[in-house]
């Protein structure tokens, strides 16, 4: 008997734990000078250090430290005056040393928080996610599993290893258990990762492409009866490759846990793999017996004790927080919360801001990005920012409309043209012969023609029945192939029929 989400929420409360790994966008790797460029030929960006050859030694990349401190500061963390690297010992072919150089009980940043907003039925709610720690480690190589049907590890005959990625700096951001989200747990998880991604992007420390793996999220979920003190058993879900998947994975796990608990069964502590196509998770290795990593301080590296001056220098160069920027823009533009949330969801806030910077009125800029452009993006199932239309294009269109050289309707044709790759606004107007007919005499010709064709309608208007004018206006628009300024037509028509 499976529980519906609503019933689940009545009985259980979810507790989340989110672990996000960020690949830093440094030029060289964490402990050696190999290039970090994505997509290179296999094993062309390796050296004795990142291959873990006998005798090789690590040397810390200063930029990686700087970026990690920046991340910690942006997340309101304390920066440890003294932090150490530690070895996390376990065997896996994608880890050349069979230990990962990471941090254990002395991470570089700890104790921060991130506030996120979630759009709910009861309005916009704010949640504070507490950050346990931010620490540095190194990425592993990439394995290709060969011979199996799915390219996944199960059923493979052998694997091929490429160590280009091994040693790329990784930052791990770990939250404290996130409670009090109730039925919005999935949305909160998504909003957290989204906000984190925006912050990381604004810091310039990573290209945060979830699809490329430079931002990875593991979602830990557990359920407990509402009011219970003890935490339930958690499961860890990996392979969550998009914001939408974060939300889906959390929701899916909540339902799965509830179903088990309702049957009186135990939730097994395990790692699960998320599947994009089904929205479900399947079990990986059971973690009943947690692997003993035998952490000990890394003897090949010395502790990191960032000077207070350095930390303040980094703090001074932090860009405006995305949330602060949003608040500022919302204030400047006088935009209601819902619309603000809509722009963020459609990922067009940057574009709107850029359009406004180029001189467009904020409301007009918004209506284009959230309206026509977002509509086309949805149709094409693409994110709006990926469409080939720029803030400059939109700003130009808005300007042309203001000048009366375009109507809204005609402008939509221009937008369509830009997205189809026909060129920039002026080129399209030229090519397609888009022109607003606002020349009064030309319009009058069309108006008189329409009146002649529908004399009874004209009579009605003369009689004071204004709405009837719509039919005549429509006829004029048809006659002018939509190029007439509808408002102008209406004005002239009504005046002509004595109703202006």
């Amino acid at each position: 008997m499976s529980l519906t989400y609503e019933k689940l929420i009545d009985k259980y409360e979810p507790v989340l734990g989110l672990e996000v790994h960020v690949e830093l966008g440094t030029k060289s790797k964490m402990f050696c000078g190999c290039s970090t460029v994505f997509g290179a030929e296999p094993n062309t960006q390796t050296c004795p250090v990142c291959l873990g050859l006998p005798g090789a030694l690590p040397v810390v990349n200063a930029k990686a430290i700087e970026y990690t401190i920046a991340i910690g500061l942006a997340l309101n963390c304390s920066i440890a005056p003294f932090s150490r690297f530690a070895r996390k010992n376990y065997f896996y072919p994608d880890m050349p040393k069979n230990f990962q150089t990471s941090q254990y009980d002395e991470p570089i940043c700890f104790g921060g928080y991130l506030d996120v907003k979630v759009d709910t039925e009861e309005g916009v709610k704010e949640f504070r996610i507490e950050i346990e720690r931010v620490h540095m480690e190194e990425d592993t190589g990439k394995s290709l599993h060969m011979g199996g049907a799915t390219g996944r590890i199960h059923g493979a005959d052998y694997s091929l290893l490429d160590y280009n990625r091994a040693g790329i700096p990784l930052v791990e951001i770990v939250t404290k258990p996130v409670t009090g989200t109730g039925k919005y747990a999935p949305e909160v998880a998504r909003a957290y990762v989204s906000e984190l991604r925006d912050i990381l992007r604004s810091l310039g420390v990573s290209d945060v492409k979830m699809e490329q793996g430079s931002l990875r999220c593991d979602a830990n979920v557990s359920l407990r009866l509402i009011g219970a003190a003890k935490l339930g058993t958690r499961s860890e879900t990996k392979n969550v490759n998009s914001l939408r998947s974060v939300e889906r994975a959390v929701r899916s796990e909540m339902l799965r846990h509830a179903a088990l608990l309702e049957k009186g069964e135990r939730v097994v502590q395990q790692t699960r793999h998320f599947h994009e196509d089904t929205g479900d998770t399947t079990p990986g290795r059971s973690k009943e017996q947690a692997e003993d990593y035998r952490y000990f301080p890394e003897p090949d590296l010395v502790p990191v004790a960032p000077a207070k001056d350095w930390i303040e220098e980094i703090r001074a160069t932090l860009p405006e927080k995305p949330s602060a920027r949003r608040a500022r823009l919302q204030e400047q533009w006088q935009v209601p919360d819902k619309e603000m949330a809509a722009m963020i969801n459609a990922d067009v806030l940057d574009q709107v801001e850029a359009t406004v910077k180029l001189g467009a009125d904020p409301t007009r800029a918004r209506s284009w990005w959230l309206g026509e452009i977002a509509r086309i993006a949805n149709e094409k199932e693409l994110p709006a920012p990926s469409l080939p239309i720029t803030a400059k294009d939109v700003a130009e269109i808005v300007a042309l409309i203001s000048k009366g050289e375009l109507t809204d309707k005609l402008a939509r044709q221009v937008v369509e043209g830009i997205i189809n790759g026909e060129g920039r606004p002026v080129e399209i107007i030229e090519k397609r012969g888009i022109k607003v007919v606002s020349d009064d005499s030309a319009l009058m010709v069309a108006i008189e023609k329409a009146i002649a064709a529908q004399p009874d309608v004209a009579e009605k208007v003369r009689g004071g029945h204004i709405p009837a004018a719509g039919a005549l206006i429509g006829a004029v628009m048809k006659e002018t192939k939509g190029q007439a300024d509808a408002a102008k037509v209406r004005e002239l028509l009504l005046r002509h029929l004595g109703q202006a």
Partner: protein
Amino acid sequence: MSKISRADVANLARLARIDMSEDELEHLSSELSVILDAVARVQEVAGEDVPPTSHPLPMTNVFRADENRASLTPEEALSGAPAKEEQRFKVPKILGEE
């Protein structure tokens, strides 16, 4: 006498990825018990107030600039590989999770 059992050794051998014979497990169990007894005396003086030493010489903040350095060629990188295919290290099927 601190005892490290055959089962303990078997568990450690598993953690260390070494396939030990029964004989080896037995021998190690007794040898290590003796050694552990001898080394356990470190506890006698390791008081709460004594800080541990990880590095013999006090150094901090050893960094390098974020610059690229020449990598090995793929041939050099793969030169020791017991097996290779398509410029990658070829390894037998991995049972653990990814």
